[in-house]
Symmetry: D2
Subunit: 376 residues, 4 copies
């Protein structure tokens, strides 16, 4: 068993989700590598220490540059706001560390391209945390599509609907709500939510050629958590676009934080000549499958409870009928990262894979701004 | 096209549902016989005339004995409280009329046996309105079971849950609530609701051998609509029983009018070696089908939207995806009755078929009373 | 009771659905007017007579011009392909008949405008059969929205998904498949399916300002039923667009006949500040309602089974829990038409109402063609 | 932070589930006590060591008597077949250890009574792993019921349906299938599955007074994993019973391993005067709630996605919309056990609580055998 010493930067929502992945992966998966929680890095030493103690990080740092200098760190995990991804990633690659970066890859394609070049030049393992690929039902969808069970694809559609910013009193900026501040986040729902949908779409259905988009900012001003003043809102509150995939199918995407009643409704549906698949995050353990070849009188959407040992990842968990949840997608991603080290192969999505999603996001935002179709 | 002159007795809920069946059957089914709404019979002449005018009955009667004397009546349809079924049915049979009797067949087995003997001796067509057999999804279930797709059967379970009598101010007796008066109805939920479940169960899974039951009357006294006084409630408000079917499978049945949130939740589920089926009345156009032979990773309950032309009865209606509803089960029963006349064959459920359900109801009520298993 | 003599042109799918509406409306609704099935008009006399006999039309015509000359016809019902709507409607209006025209109103806005002018000049009752407004759950949605329960609206989305033209051997043109021939239909899914979604959307959420659309024709050539030769397909197989409503909300619409597994999945969802609603045609008796004001720990989408007497239209049918179906939307539209005659008021959607939907359809098709935003 | 040294006996399905609970509880819950994985005890030293290494147990034992002698063990966790619960529990209590016993408590009431007396006499903390109480949706149900939101209760029903023993080639006995051997398990589905339903029922709805049951053994002989020979099957394959609760409501319970299509469908539904609740394990993050007080036209079952911070346990996990799964019920039970140590209060279900479930199970089995009602 080889150790992989982890240096984690950030302890927010994603810092906790990734750390849990490191803590749990080897309990359930037989692997040749094992993560060691070596150092937790964050500016606030007191909070950093508290988080480190809770999860068993051996040490803390308060400056990520110091973390990168340490010889006992093999992999750097970047869980800070999007506008810091580029600088840290490039420095980490140059320091010879494996780089595991939270999504989206970057603020824009130019940044992302520089990041790809850095990790590729350094030859270090690199990965972006588009975790939804590793929900077992989504992985099963990938398997079904790759087996050709759907035939020629006609349609792909995806939503990511939330409702937590309808209240105009929610502030922007700061530790809790930097996702509402374009300076820190780059964009609004496009980079935060649609990027997930786009990554999954590309993985399942191939690249997107061109897009036609619309965005909207419903609440025009919000208190800024750092300035304490009402400031113009610069993010997109909602975004929708239609597109062509390279395989000739049509795509339709929508994301918003103003869809009352939906907490985190990340959905996908794909329609092919021979069959269709549908999935959503609120019932993430289920995959809907329609098989046109089924005998006509008893043909219908199959509600597949993805909890059997022969379904992706599930052989490592409990017994049929018993669900796993959201956090397991990160455990699986850690397990697959460790397995890639075992096998000496790249893990996906790599920085280069994630750049493709970034290209679509950039084209979407530009299309919305210019009210015109954009090539990706 | 031959006419079948209908004499309808009663104009309540069932009188309306059956009449609509007569009005609609030939619009959608190609048949050699056609019902003619010859006479409507009810004690209140004014209301009878109003109903007759609305639906096109050619005449009215206020005494069912007069109706039976008429030569221009071919078939008598009995839509009056259960305690009148026996006398009218026997008289109708003796008058040589076809007898179409609302369910349940009778107050008890003794009455039912006499009714069977009367129609059989007279050799007249006879039918009981257990309409749920003719919901297309239930008919499809019958077809699937008869094709052997489920293999050996282990379990059958059914509910009929309502909530409309929770309020203790609902009266008993009278035209609107005779179903709450044991004198008129014979029993409570057992004869009114469970009888439907039992008829369907026997049709799908064969006869029941023995039963062990429990009943309860939650509201002990209700105002009686006829006496104007509080009277003891003599019906069963809830009834549940387990049983053995003759084919070795186990049955579980429950009915109540105290299941808050359920309006008319008539359900069934049958589990066999190779597959299972489930259905409920609230979404009566859907049949759930599980096929164990499906490839394991994509196996799941199929949600079959029963609206295609190759599914029972649906070729006579609209196009795939477009639902029919409750009233259509009666239209189908009329169509099948007319078809049986075309072909000179009996229609089902006959009085004799319905007697089997009566036997189970009697055994259930006796088992509950004596707190012991009863053979059917 | 006053008679309204109906002259029906066409006996296809819609001819049957409307005729059933005339046959049934007065059985279930108390009205001062009653339709009389006076004449059925179609070019094929034999088939016309067969349909007339089945439904009780008193006479037939084989030339609609002759029908319009008859003094005993009060209302003309137009159930022929879309390219004939204009000529017949205008002639009918000029002959002083009420004009009940199947949707979409016309081939394009120019035709529709002429039709509106004709009926308005003649001062005759006029109506377009956008029947889905009268599905009780959709009518209930309208009531909830109009009561202000949703507050400010942010999003409206609707789909109409089918899968019946995936097989490239389905022909175009002719009596059965004129909907696949742009000459007869004007457009493909836009006029046939999306027009339904747009009519409902405008009714529920107000007018649409501008649109950005994409269309696709997946199967480029199909045998033409009339020429017997492979001909280019000129309709749109799929169409999707996003848009702004005049109330500031965003719209997203999609329709296709290539969504494997969906028979007639007409859906809508509307998200407001205080709540949301969702509905679909496959379970047309249910309305999903989310009320943010509900106590947080027990807040969730309510699955409303629309079958109670205090819900729109349902007091005229059976008892709670018992469903009605697709055909009832037409019965309700007939009932509302007759009621409008009772009250001397216009019925909706009028030709003028339907013209608004036509404007959106035209803008959508133009936007898709020119790859640019279009004002409606 | 005080340590609680755990001595785990067994490393099967439950050994893994409990161990994961110990590993995770303090990561997500702020507590004053923390479990230390001190020793893993199992007869096979090699496998015990492998399990210990994987999870971080500091040592192993191969004889539970040796484990009990150790001073460094504070709490003993019993994850071995049911017929060993009594002896180990009593010895552990006598050794002054806290005793955490997997369900069901014992083989029968006599054993269970002795166990209760032992832990009570010793005054040691004691708990039985009826984990489903700690599924957040079930805990929420408890809260709703205790707040009186349902009013007077009329009905309680629960199922636990599986299908994994339909194949007659599944053996009985041995490490993998001791649950099919009555000698090791005490009974079949009654103790294994229905016991879960009964514990939850008693917790939510109070004690059960009397029962009337039926059991069945569908497969009469199975190969025994230890003898290598076909032996008679002595467990119950299916069990169903109806009962009276002390609060006057009626209960209906069913469990089987022959319900094709159901993997682990543990369900409950409770109907009260003012509302109802329903839940099932296949979608364990959802609770269905019906509130009769809701405005009639928009009244319907609410589908509550239990993932908000104000719902039981969920404030310790992720963000709204993100699910947890099966294993978390054990993490919660560990957290509550640790909290009980913090507060010096008993944890539930205690041995005494679990004895009540044992009493019902015994009465059920006796009722089935004697074909008669039994008092609990």
């Amino acid at each position: 068993m080889k150790n992989v010493n982890i240096g984690m930067i950030g302890y927010g929502f994603m810092g906790k989700a990734h750390t849990n992945g490191y803590a749990q992966a080897n309990h359930f998966f037989k692997l040749g590598h094992k993560p060691v929680l070596k150092a937790l890095c964050a500016r606030n030493a007191e909070k950093a220490q508290e988080f480190a103690d809770n999860w068993g990080y051996e040490s803390i740092e308060t400056d990520w540059r110091e973390l990168l200098k340490r010889d006992d760190i093999d992999a750097v995990d970047i869980c800070v706001p999007n506008n810091l991804h580029k600088e840290i990633s490039i420095a980490a690659a140059e320091a010879g560390k494996a780089v595991l970066c939270e999504k989206p890859l970057a603020i824009d394609v130019a940044e992302g391209e520089a990041m790809c070049e850095a990790v590729e030049k350094a030859g270090v393992p690199n990965m972006v945390w588009y975790n939804y690929r590793r929900v077992p039902a989504v992985s099963l969808a990938k398997q079904i599509i790759d087996e050709g069970r759907l035939g020629k694809i006609f349609h792909y559609r995806a939503n990511f609907l939330q409702d937590w910013t309808i209240n105009a009193d929610v502030p922007q900026g700061g530790a809790a709500t930097w996702r509402l501040d374009a300076e820190a986040a780059g964009s609004g729902v496009t980079g935060d939510l649609l990027a997930h949908c786009i990554d999954t779409a590309i993985w399942l259905n191939g690249n997107i050629k061109d897009v036609s988009a619309m965005t909207e900012t419903f609440v025009k001003e919000r208190m800024h958590a750092e300035t304490g003043k009402k400031e113009p809102v610069t993010i997109d509150d909602a975004c929708m676009f239609h597109c062509h995939f390279e395989n000739g199918s049509l795509g339709l995407f929508e994301s918003t934080r103003y869809a009352r009643g939906h907490k985190a409704l990340n959905t996908l549906e794909i329609n092919g000549e021979h069959g269709s698949l549908a999935w959503d995050l609120h019932d993430l353990h289920r995959l809907q499958y329609f098989n046109y070849a089924d005998d006509g009188i008893v043909r219908g959407w199959r509600d597949v409870h993805v909890s059997d040992g022969d379904q992706p990842y599930m052989g490592n968990w409990w017994v049929p009928g018993l669900n796993i949840g959201y956090e397991h997608s990160f455990i699986h991603q850690v397990a697959d990262f460790l397995k890639s080290l075992d096998e000496g192969k790249p893990v996906h999505p790599s920085f280069r894979d994630a750049l493709e999603t970034q290209k679509v996001c950039d084209a979407v935002l530009k299309s919305a701004k210019e009210r015109a179709w954009m090539d990706v």
